[in-house]
């Protein structure tokens, strides 16, 4: 229901502004994607080696390789190959994988779902711990608590993710045996994929055993992947909260007799949230691009590994289209974040009335 003060069609006008802004932003996506496609295309074709070599193996004769390359159209001038690629894209065709022979659009779905699940889990951990650590630091500014939290954050950003992943596996899977060390689910688990999101699928089928299994599997990789974003969020939250806690309206809230908890989590946090949201968007975008290292260590069947394998087999179409998909997601996530600014801060408006 529209708030009262937006009577006389003002609410409708604001919604129209929002839609217009979104459309404008989506149109801006077009040049970004064209640029992206051009860059990935050039880089991919600059990598030494050829898909024909990868398919036929080390010992293939140069003639056989030449012939296959001819068949695949790899000997055509580059601009021609690029235009062919673009033409397919415009028809909504992301191309076909050289390695598997299946359409990429079909193939990438499950990988994307796995990556999204992992990224979301990692961000939940990062936001929950990061925001609270930052708040705690700011609240007890310049005390031992503050210094300890910031040292934890510093260690967090400096820790290489592959090392952290290996240590986690060693402690929690190897030594303690509490959690599984890799994979997305126990392969013996009887499970019917519907949406490719295992948590949603498990809930739809009321299969709580599968749900818990998936939960146990995601914990370690999510923790490894979430550590760096957590540290970054903790630091940005701290500095943002420090600034807000000094402001006049916080003093007003105290003068009203509001307790510390509400002051921090209601009055201050909402004001401090915009920079946190910005960092959240950037980090989420990065994680959705697939975390190659984490996914490799934990055998997580995500986009990062999909792309990694494509690169090692010189699967040109998969590399190009995969990166394009990831870039689109990145831009869309940041658009959503931009739209959320207005929801947090009523002073932000998109366009003129």
């Amino acid at each position: 229901m529209p708030p009262l003060f937006l009577a006389h069609g003002r609410f409708e006008r604001l919604v129209k502004l929002l839609i217009a802004y979104t459309i404008r932003r989506l149109l801006m996506l077009i040049p970004v994607l064209i640029g992206m496609s051009f860059i990935t295309f050039s880089i991919v074709h600059a990598i030494p080696g050829s898909p024909a070599q990868a398919i036929l193996g080390e010992k293939a004769s140069p003639e056989a390789i030449k012939q296959l390359e001819q068949q695949m159209g790899l000997n055509d001038p580059l601009y021609l190959q690029y235009f062919r690629y673009m033409e397919d894209l415009l028809h909504g065709d992301l191309g076909t994988s050289i390695k598997t022979g299946r359409p990429i659009l079909e193939e990438i779905g499950p990988y994307l779902a796995a990556t999204m699940e992992l990224a979301l889990a990692a961000m939940i951990i990062a936001v929950f711990f990061g925001v609270n650590l930052g708040i705690f630091s700011a609240w007890r500014h310049n005390t031992v608590v503050d210094y300890t939290s910031m040292v934890i954050a510093l260690i967090g950003v400096s820790m290489p993710v592959f090392w952290l992943g290996l240590v986690e596996q060693w402690i929690f899977a190897q030594e303690l045996g509490w959690l599984p060390s890799n994979g997305r689910m126990d392969p013996r688990m009887f499970f019917e994929p519907i949406t490719q999101f295992v948590f949603i699928d498990a809930l739809i089928q009321m299969n709580f055993e599968a749900f818990m299994d998936a939960f146990n599997h995601i914990l370690l990789p999510a923790l490894a992947l979430g550590t760096i974003p957590m540290a970054i969020i903790a630091r940005i939250t701290r500095s943002s909260m420090l600034e807000v806690l000094r402001s006049d309206y916080i003093r007003t809230a105290r003068a009203k007799g509001v307790g510390e908890g509400l002051i921090i989590y209601k009055h201050a946090l909402k004001n401090a949230f915009i920079p946190i949201l910005t960092v959240f968007g950037l980090q989420m975008g990065l994680l959705l691009g697939g975390a190659v290292l984490t996914e490799t260590i934990f055998s997580w069947p995500g986009v990062g590994r999909y792309l990694y394998e494509a690169i090692s087999t010189r699967d040109y179409p998969v590399i190009q289209s995969g990166i394009l998909v990831v870039a689109t997601i990145f831009v869309v996530i940041n658009l959503i974040v931009d739209l959320m600014y207005a929801w947090i801060d009523p002073r932000i408006q998109y366009g003129k009335e």
Partner: protein
């Protein structure tokens, strides 16, 4: 005289900094009786704001530290209160409005939300009742319009925001309202309206007001009594009539002299020479002595005490100590050469 509502005696608030102790408030005595409007005046940096924030318990400690004295409100010593006890007093018995109406309201919550919060913090009422209380109070301060409760602070002007602040402060009918330069940031016509409003609320609800200002015009118009502060201390106190007609402390005289007057044509406006002393390096003796045209040797050597002049008029000045009775009273008063 009505019963004392707020009684500050010998109160000291010091700040620990890297460069030493800053004695922001160093011996303040003042009382506010029920229903009274008291003005607290002085130049910037003389400790007015710290005094008022101390009454609300809003001085962060550390770095602040109560170094002595007491603040009694309705018989309770506020300097001994802990977190939760403060919450019961703030906004309920003592409310405060601030100098900067533009930034004193939370920009991301609606007026209604912020007012309801103030009410429900202290009274067990449901949201609907609280909203109607909020509406009623906004009507009292003269800015109620349909839908204002759903508006955000940035949609209101500075004067309106200050009225919202006043409404929010008055909504629980506090016994004492502390107003820290409430009109300084507003333009003159709005200033007059806000002062009128505060005077009316004082009359109608009996809420006492401690009015912090550097504007003696405001004091003359609003207050029954005035307290003059200088460098963290009270230097003179008395009812408005006496103080304006017969100021005793040279600092008060200076303040009064620096009000421009329409009926006298002068080439230069008067200002007290010199500056407020650095609170880290306070002069020995009388703190005003370096700027005082009447200063003698004793002023530079010994600190004067507050001296009762009758009718609640007190002054901290050696000039009033004509018979020298107070001089011997000081412990190490060896210099009688003056």
């Amino acid at each position: 005289m009505a019963e004392a509502l707020l009684e500050i005696t010998g109160f000291k608030m010091h700040f620990q900094t890297d460069k030493g102790v800053v004695k922001a408030v160093d011996g303040v005595d003042l009382t506010v009786s029920e229903g009274e409007i008291v003005g607290l005046v002085g130049e910037s940096g003389c400790g007015k704001s710290v005094t008022s924030l101390s009454v609300m318990g809003l001085v962060p400690q550390p770095p602040g530290k109560v170094a002595g004295g007491s603040i009694r409100f309705a018989g309770k010593d506020l300097t001994r209160l802990k977190g939760r006890e403060w919450q019961k007093i703030r906004g309920n018995d003592v409310a405060m409005i601030f100098q900067e109406p533009m930034t004193s309201l939370n920009p991301v919550f609606t007026i209604g939300n912020q007012m309801v919060e103030a009410i429900r913090q202290h009274q067990k009422v449901n949201k609907k009742k609280a909203l109607s209380r909020a509406r009623e109070t906004l009507r009292e301060v003269g800015i109620f319009r349909e839908g204002i409760l759903d508006e955000y602070p940035h949609q209101l002007s500075g004067g309106m925001r200050q009225r919202v602040m006043i409404a929010m402060a008055m909504v629980c009918r506090p016994k004492l309202l502390i107003a820290d330069e409430p009109t300084t940031a507003l333009d003159v016509t709005i200033q007059a309206q806000i002062l009128d409003l505060m005077r009316r609320l004082n009359r109608e609800t009996g809420t006492a007001i401690l009015m912090i200002t550097h504007d003696l015009g405001v004091v003359a118009e609003m207050c029954q009594r005035v307290v003059v502060m200088y460098a963290g201390q009270v230097v003179e106190q008395g009812d408005v009539q006496t103080l304006f007609k017969n100021p005793c402390h040279p600092y008060t005289k200076g303040l009064l002299k620096s009000i421009p007057q329409l009926d006298k044509r002068i080439d230069r406006l008067y200002s007290i020479p010199g500056h407020v002393p650095n609170p880290r390096k306070l002069p020995t003796g009388c703190r005003f002595a370096p700027r005082c045209e009447f200063a003698s040797d004793i002023c530079r050597e010994q600190e004067p005490q507050l001296l009762e002049l009758g009718d609640g008029h007190v002054s901290r000045c050696w000039l009033e100590d004509k018979d020298g009775t107070r001089r011997g009273a000081d412990r190490d008063a060896t210099t009688n050469t003056a």
